[in-house]
Symmetry: C2
Subunit: 260 residues, 2 copies
């Protein structure tokens, strides 16, 4: 590995609906793709149920382990929305309805002519000392507590909140990613040479990902994506060139993707 600065993130997905299989999570992918160009790599993701003790434990582990933590889910107005209280408990700070958050919510609902119910006011419960995160989609803010960013679970809202986060993050060396696709290539054909190449280039992380696409008539099209990731662009270029030659030597057409 190079000496480039390493900045890391962990993602905590909160919600019974993801664990039960009812909802397909999309937040890990969109958070990882948002952070990558900033030089921040996701090193772990946990998905936990709507239970305060479990959320608190996971949060305290992850915020000690990663530079930043992003939570999604559980900040709405209903009884199963317990993330704000869990974050406050994890940090050991009080929580109550906060005037700045309530003002944002009041203005939003006045503008959209929606009644401001008691339960909607619950969305203004913010841990002491946290700073708010704009929600351009539905008004009720997210919040930042130390190195922890608490976002909504609905992917469209979480995405909107990320726009108010980039400027708060100190990025690191950007990990670039390039890939070579070998249509028809099977992992076992290239594994030995690829392993030797990985030994040679310790500063590049080389991954091999087979794919199986079902095309018409139940026919399967298969092949392998060979992905190299590194903060060192020169080494990355060399590795991609070497992989292309390997794929070509095996009788397949290497298709280089310079951005993935």
């Amino acid at each position: 590995m190079s000496d480039a600065k390493r900045v890391t993130a962990a993602v905590l997905l909160i919600g019974d609906e993801v664990l039960s299989g009812r909802t397909q999570d999309k937040n890990l992918q969109q958070i990882a793709q948002f952070l990558a160009p900033l030089g921040i790599n996701v090193i772990e993701c946990r998905t936990v149920p709507d239970e305060q003790d479990i959320i608190v434990d996971a949060l305290n582990t992850l915020r000690a382990r990663a530079s930043y933590v992003f939570t999604t889910g559980g900040i709405g107005p209903t009884h199963d929305d317990i993330t704000a209280d869990a974050v406050a408990a994890a940090f050991g700070v009080p929580i109550d309805v906060r005037a700045d958050a309530l003002e944002i919510i009041e203005e939003w609902y006045a503008r959209t002519q929606t009644p401001l119910t008691e339960s909607r006011k619950r969305m203004a419960r913010i841990p002491d000392g946290a700073s708010l995160i704009d929600n351009p989609v539905t008004g009720a803010p997210g919040f930042q507590t130390g190195n922890v960013f608490t976002l909504a679970g609905v992917p469209k809202i979480a995405r909107g909140m990320l726009e108010d986060i980039a400027h708060r993050l100190e990025g690191g060396a950007v990990t670039r990613s390039r890939s070579v696709k070998g249509e028809g290539l099977r992992e076992g054909d290239i594994a030995v040479n690829l392993g030797a190449l990985q030994e040679e280039f310790a500063q590049v992380s080389i991954g091999s990902y087979p794919y199986f696409l079902e095309v018409r008539d139940g026919e399967i099209r298969r092949g392998t994506h060979l992905v190299a990731r590194s903060t060192d662009e020169d080494a990355l270029d060399q590795v991609i060139e070497r992989i292309s030659v390997m794929v070509s030597d095996l009788g397949f057409e290497p298709q280089i993707d310079p951005e993935a």
Copy 2:
């Protein structure tokens, strides 16, 4: 909660490609949906990189916490496939190429006229004492070590392997799930009554999930899914009926889905 037997599962997704955002995981959802009818609920999911120490730590935590653990990813023939070694390390057992696994792989490759390279033989490395799991898609088996099931990362292959697992699992009380959709309903409209209903029915888990669908012309269609889950069918029926009335009283058309 009722006295019904509680059987739990944890899912460990192994792979840099999921954490980097390159690949959208589909295995958590398909494993959860496979286990639900067997009365097994997923209580936690972790996604970790291709690093042995981290995999071992996560595996040892999860296998102590849940009745069953399902890992996906990292059992192919390339240098980044380290899951089998990590499982062996977690259980403190030796690992080597095993004759039974090698025979399966040899037969498969002979049949598909694919050369059996040294790296493909690597897929026959199985922890001592593990039992094999059929792979109807690409031959190379998964394996069961104690309460841990190690599956491939490609969703199609993982799905195939699950077929050889159901008969090994001791299920519990099946959690049924029903939902009421309120098109146009917003969470804040129903939150107070829903919270009171949750208080009344401790044996049912009630969740509220807003949705935002972008339809033509950038127009947003929104509403809320109200989901009840329980092992107690009578209580579930009562809760769904009560929620339907609430939605109706608020002026929206309740759409009941008896299976989700």
